[in-house]
């Protein structure tokens, strides 16, 4: 399974709408980095509105992809994390403090624009 990555001007938009298995998550990580490289995108929004579970592995993959993209020069914002997912992550002991987040896609794009203009 491949997660589609859409390009919009300088941004890449991803909406994860499936129950992520480990392999799909790893594949997505690689696909996103390749897409950043080939498109020259400076900002990425990963929307998690439809994701109803993030376990420690998926959290690690998402956290890593933010750091990896940052190394390449692209800012990533995670958006739409559900209340139940946020509570579960904290129970798990995963705080994702260095990961930029926003309430929804719209807020995410605003946040990206602000960060990139600084």
């Amino acid at each position: 399974m491949r997660i589609p990555i859409l390009k919009l001007h300088n941004y890449l938009l991803i909406s994860i709408q499936i129950d992520l298995d480990d392999q799909t998550a790893i594949q997505f990580q690689e696909d996103l980095l390749n897409k950043i490289h080939s498109s020259g995108a400076t900002g990425v929004v990963i929307d998690l509105t439809s994701v109803d579970i993030i376990d420690s592995f998926i959290a690690k993959v998402l956290g890593d992809v933010v750091t990896m993209s940052d190394l390449m020069g692209a800012k990533v914002v995670l958006t739409g994390i559900q209340p139940a997912v946020a509570m579960t992550l904290i129970d798990l002991g995963i705080h994702m403090q260095d990961v930029p987040t926003a309430l929804d896609l719209e807020q995410g794009l605003i946040k990206l624009r602000q960060e990139l203009e600084e």
């Binding site: 993030i54 376990d55 420690s56 959290a59 579960t88």
Partner: protein
């Protein structure tokens, strides 16, 4: 006790299968969205541990419904190498696989009851329970 169903964990995709079945059962029992997410996440961690460290095993679900208690009991069993240092794996941040080390201590916090029995060379059995409030 209503029924028991098990998911064999042999390949990576079985992790997803186990947590989906667990979530469905939790929903039927009457757990809310947040507890469904907690239960599904705990199952995911338990199933991944089986897949990563033992290679294969199973995760079984049992609805508990006695006089004044309703809940879901989950048992994860494998015949893998067992856990050498139990106290270590229950520490936050301890990992031998390069993960976050959030797995077992995380599962303990997500659920209401947590029991682990592990024998080196024999395997590991983890039983967790979430009560319906």
């Amino acid at each position: 006790m209503d029924f028991q169903s098990c998911v064999n964990i042999k390949k990576e995709w079985d992790i997803v299968g186990a947590r989906q079945l667990g979530r469905d059962i939790a929903k039927k029992i009457g757990f809310g969205t947040v507890d469904q997410a907690r239960i599904a996440t705990a199952i995911s961690e338990l199933a991944r541990n089986i897949y990563l460290y033992a290679g294969s095993g199973k995760v079984c679900f049992e609805a508990i419904d006695d006089m004044n208690h309703k809940g879901l009991s989950i048992i994860a069993v494998d015949e893998g190498p067992g856990i050498e240092e139990l106290s270590q794996v229950m520490e936050d941040g301890f990992s031998t696989s390069g993960g976050l080390g959030a797995g077992l201590p995380g599962v303990k916090r997500l659920m209401d009851e947590f029991d682990i029995v592990s024998e080196q060379g024999r395997g590991t059995e983890i039983k967790v329970v979430k009560w319906l409030r």
